[in-house]
């Protein structure tokens, strides 16, 4: 009982405990803010990683697999599967309007089904918007302008359908959607949006040519890829000019800086993964006099090959989206089962289920490297801050040691009045816990408040001191993540209290074991 009374008096009548409480508060708030922001960063990054992948991917690289329409039909018939979409993923060279040639990841997609699985349509950047983005306080985004609304509505429609009318002939042709960072022409503003630039082409004579075009209106790129034969061996390079219908922003810089979406049928033809007649060369020794008529020219010539069937179109990947709330592992398992049935229905024509087992990956598997890197980074930052905050233990220890020394005579008096050794230890432990509780409560509250208002605080710092820490031109997310995970708050809160108890424990034991006679004689 006397511990409660003295704790209350010590807490309210001394400067030292106030300092200790402030230290605990700052440590708790710092850890909570760091953990929340880094955790939010990871969460946002992971969500972005999922945006263009869906839940589960069935991957058979290079040569791809056939009868994917049948597989998709089987998948979409299942109650656990919401939708599925065929894609082709490959690499190639892109020739940009300024004649630069870069390596690029090429994804052949069916825009409608791909949007259903991945939310692709939502990532299209050039579209009319009604509200400015959160950091665009001045309304500088050109997509806001009413006079551009009709134009951007058309550009959005082009992006969704992956087509674009030829600017001269008006003929609608298949078009690609480019990552917003690929060309380097889009100028990222401090408010987090883009202003579209125009290409400048360097000339051999040292001059430059200004191309008066916007990528999403008149721009086009050249794509060069290596076609593969049915065994996956490269045959010859294929080059094609692809008009650009729109540009996308996924939230992952690596993706937006190095990816182009192309209509699936276009890339299938380029890679020779489209449907084709299956032919067999005619052997001279069977019928050396056989002839055939060329169906195009009508000319008659010696028969060189014979059509023996149809080689169906192939894709390298089928992306699957589970129904809302479905467990990721459950979806993967169901996809495996459905694929096994599909493989049984096409024996010898598609990869068998055993070989495909490890090629059915979740979006987490596909982003494992990126997620793991960010998790490690988060862990490292937390570790460093944890070490820094651990100094609080020593701070509390030093403050308590000092207070316990100052109160040596009081301890002697209490012992003379009959206070026990554990009673004296409990006095200091209780005192430490009280400082921990007050410091942790205020620290958690301050941390919560800062995280929830971190963008407003950041904007204020920018306006008042010209200090911009989170610059959307460097950091890919426009806003600093501002959500607090309650479970993290509880952990930080409890650790804050334990830290103080730990810091108080040594002085507590020291005080309790003090010889009461020496304590009474202490000067």
């Amino acid at each position: 009982m006397y511990q409660a009374l003295l704790t209350k008096k010590y807490l309210t009548r001394k400067v030292m405990p106030m300092l200790a409480m402030a230290a605990v508060m700052l440590s708790v708030a710092t850890i909570l803010i760091t953990w929340s922001v880094m955790g939010g960063f990871l969460k946002t990054l992971i969500a972005s990683g999922k945006t263009l992948v869906g839940d589960v991917a069935i991957v058979w690289p290079n040569v791809g697999f056939a009868y994917y329409d049948d597989l998709i039909e089987r998948l979409e018939a299942d109650e656990l599967i919401d939708s599925a979409s065929p894609t082709i993923e490959t690499f190639g060279l892109i020739k940009l309007p300024d004649d630069r040639v870069e390596l690029i990841s090429i994804k052949g997609i069916e825009p409608r089904s791909y949007s259903e699985v991945t939310g692709f349509a939502d990532t299209l950047w050039w579209k009319p918007i009604d509200e400015p983005t959160s950091k665009d306080h001045e309304g500088e985004d050109i997509r806001l302008a009413p006079e551009n609304a009709e134009l951007f509505a058309q550009v959005l429609s082009n992006g969704i359908s992956m087509t674009r009318p030829d600017p001269i002939t008006g003929v609608v042709e298949p078009a690609g959607v480019l990552g917003i960072e690929v060309t380097g022409l889009n100028d990222r503003k401090i408010w987090g949006g883009y202003y579209p630039g125009t290409p400048v082409r360097a000339q051999p004579d040292g001059g430059v040519e200004f191309l008066n075009q916007r990528m999403f209106l008149q721009g086009q790129v050249g794509l060069t890829i290596l076609a593969l034969d049915s065994s996956g061996r490269p045959i010859d390079p294929v080059t094609r000019t692809i008009p650009i219908a729109n540009e996308f922003q996924s939230g992952l810089y690596e993706v937006d800086q190095g990816t182009i979406f192309v209509p699936l049928d276009v890339i299938q033809r380029m890679l020779r993964l489209d449907e084709a007649a299956k032919v067999e060369l005619v052997r001279d020794d069977e019928n050396p006099f056989a002839i055939e008529v060329n169906p195009v020219t009508g000319e008659i010539g010696p028969k060189m090959k014979e059509i023996i069937g149809v080689d169906p179109a192939r894709v390298t990947t089928v992306l699957v989206r589970g129904v809302d709330g479905a467990e990721l592992e459950a979806v993967r398992q169901r996809v495996r089962e459905i694929y096994a049935q599909f493989a049984d229905a096409h024996p010898g024509q598609v990869p068998d289920a055993v070989n495909m087992r490890h090629q059915i990956k979740t979006w987490e598997d596909l982003n494992r490297t990126m997620i793991s890197a960010v998790k490690k980074e988060t862990g490292l930052v937390l570790f460093i801050f944890g070490i820094v905050s651990f100094t609080t233990v020593f701070l509390v220890l030093a403050i308590f040691w000092s207070m316990a020394t100052e109160k040596t005579k009081d301890i002697g008096v209490l012992r003379a009045l009959g206070a026990s050794t554990p009673g004296i230890a409990w006095l200091w432990i209780r005192y430490g816990a009280s400082i921990g509780i007050v410091g942790s409560v205020t620290g958690t509250a301050v941390g919560y408040w800062v995280v929830l208002n971190i963008n407003a605080i950041h904007d204020w710092m920018g306006r008042t001191f010209g200090l911009v820490i989170w610059d959307p031109r460097q950091y890919y997310f426009v806003e600093i993540p501002s959500a607090v995970d309650p479970s993290k708050a509880v952990i930080v809160f409890v650790v804050g209290i334990l830290t103080c108890v730990l810091g108080a424990a040594i002085p507590a034991v020291h005080s309790a074991r003090m010889d009461p006679v020496k304590a009474l004689r202490f000067e």
Binding site: M1, Y2, A4, L5, L6, K9, Y10, R13, K409, D410, G412, V413, L414, R415, A416, L417, G418, A419, S420, T421, G423, D515, P516, V517, L520
Partner: protein
């Protein structure tokens, strides 16, 4: 053996059987590498209700003897005769730490020369803190009113009823010592151990403090062991013993 009673000049009733019996108590302190013997085989009996004054020069071991009687310290073990500090039928040298804590809380009241009040607590809290220690959390709640009433009564008796909410720093030396006496008496101890209670006070204040102790002792039948070097105070007690070089000499 029958119990004999005797009325003394001090107005107290002294019973013949000893409440406290100290035998062959040695105490040596170690200061760095030097061993400093303080008590050399002290023998002492204190009867119930008796006021014994211990006189002696500085460093003669008066306070040490008081601490040993109060269970704050233990006598040396390696001596020719085994040391004994017996309070009623309890052998304190054999008691556990916990038992000695209880002994101090239940049976002993300490008054120090320099008051030793807890500076953060009010006058009333300084007195009731003894009750808190004795009864513990639950017990104190049950006895709270009784303890506060007793503390208020003691402080009223010592003329401090108007100072209950004041803190020690706001009191005079005499007032502080009265608070310290009230604190020592809050648990109705059988034995009051006073270590130069007037040593830090002027003559007049010292006498008023002494009067307060004597009056309370007479009313409560308290046994009092007081350490002092003031011969005039010693003359008022039932019995005086002198500590010379760590040994007792009856005066």
């Amino acid at each position: 053996m029958g119990i004999q009673m005797q009325e003394r000049e001090t107005g107290s009733v002294v019973r013949s059987e000893p409440i406290l019996s100290v035998r062959a108590v040695h105490k040596t302190y170690t200061l760095g590498r030097v061993k400093v013997p303080v008590l050399h085989g002290v023998d002492l009996d204190v009867k119930q209700g008796e006021w014994v004054t211990i006189l002696g020069a500085s460093g003669s071991g008066k306070s040490t003897l008081l601490h040993l009687i109060g269970g704050l310290d233990r006598p040396d073990k390696k001596t020719e005769r085994s040391a004994s500090v017996q309070f009623r039928d309890r052998e304190l040298t054999q008691e556990s730490k916990r038992a000695l804590d209880r002994y101090r809380a239940d049976d002993i009241g300490f008054v120090f020369q320099f008051y030793h009040l807890l500076p953060e607590l009010s006058v009333l809290e300084n007195v009731t803190v003894g009750g808190m220690i004795k009864y513990g959390r639950l017990g104190y709640r049950a006895h709270r009113k009784q303890i506060v009433d007793r503390a208020s009564g003691l402080l009223d008796r010592f003329g401090l009823s108007h100072r209950l909410k004041h803190r020690p720093a706001e009191l005079s030396g005499g007032e502080r010592q009265r608070v310290a006496i009230a604190r020592a008496l809050i648990n109705e101890p059988s034995l009051l151990l006073a270590d130069e209670p007037t040593g830090n006070l002027d003559l007049k204040t010292g006498e008023s403090i002494l009067d307060a102790i004597i009056e309370h002792r007479r009313d409560a039948g308290l046994t009092l062991v007081m350490v002092t070097h003031d011969e005039r105070i010693a003359a008022k007690s039932d019995r005086v013993i002198r500590l010379i070089d760590g040994r007792v000499e009856e005066a």
